[in-house]
Symmetry: C2
Subunit: 183 residues, 2 copies
């Protein structure tokens, strides 16, 4: 049988040149050389459908729009959705495939000053995995309708998890630097 | 310069034979063939230190222990931690590198019946990325001390994000199948 180790990794774009001019480094930003090799491989397991086809149109965070978006799971994984219909909310992981990966300090457009990548929810990060809590409004076969996404139409899906308030909700959490600023 | 597309992907273990006998399929579980190729590559950006060296010792979820765990970020990404010290809570993504990836329906040991992978927080999933909300108790250089992890000592780190209560906390979320059962 075919093993995970046999699976080739297709070419990806150069992260520093970037697919999108909006990703060019700005004053105050710091880039580092990326490691020489990957450590693990990701399968895209579906695609996300949203109303937004340009980055400038995307809401600035996942509560910035009430638009109903779709999550289309590849048929291969259809059975993995069994039981998902009992969840009011899901944690969705998706791959921001147009983001560069080498910035450790960033100066977000909608904010003042520079901050470390791990203090930001920017798609630009070593592993461009976005995580959003969504409200499930319906399932039709392998297509989920959800509210709470902020990404470009066609963004690759990498995981869906049930959201457990008991472990995932911390209502009094504080991000100190974020004194009324956008993320 | 070296581009992302030049980076080779090292061999990974066969997911179906599995590194760990606990991953053998149980009655009621369903496996599917994995795709022929990866779509993207992950960099391990650090390691997680926990008190648990055997899976049987790990807490059953991230609220199952008050143990202070450590997150050691590789020096390459040190500057990306700027500002993280102002956060009370973080969303940590890590790679469950010992989990098989081909099960779409699972029968968890601590639960009754079978459920779809996307309705479970099991490490066994197409992309074995775990997501945990942790409380930050201290930072010393590139080492974070946190409460709220449940994984094996040495687990690879893939991302750290600030936890925003405004978008990440949904206190009234319900997982319908989970009527007092463990996840």
């Amino acid at each position: 049988m075919t093993t995970v180790s046999d699976r080739p990794l297709p070419p990806l774009p150069d992260p520093a040149s970037g697919a999108d001019a909006e990703d060019d480094a700005r004053p105050g930003e710091i880039a580092v050389p990326l490691p020489d090799a990957y450590d693990a491989g990701v399968f895209y397991i579906g695609r996300i459908g949203t109303p937004w086809t340009r980055r400038a149109d995307c809401p600035r965070n996942a509560r910035g729009s009430d638009a109903v978006c779709t999550i289309e799971v590849d048929e291969r994984w259809a059975a993995a959705l069994t039981g998902v219909e009992t969840c009011t909310h899901l944690l969705v992981l998706y791959w921001m495939d147009r983001a560069r990966r080498d910035l450790v300090v960033q100066a977000p457009r909608h904010s003042t000053g520079s901050r470390g990548t791990f203090a930001l929810r920017s798609p630009v990060r070593p592993n461009p995995i976005a995580a959003s809590v969504v409200r499930l409004v319906g399932i039709d076969g392998t297509r989920l309708s959800v509210v709470g996404l902020d990404c470009l139409d066609g963004t690759p899906l990498v995981d869906i998890k049930p959201y457990f308030a008991s472990t995932d909700a911390v209502g009094d959490a504080v991000v100190g630097w974020h004194a009324g600023q956008s993320k």
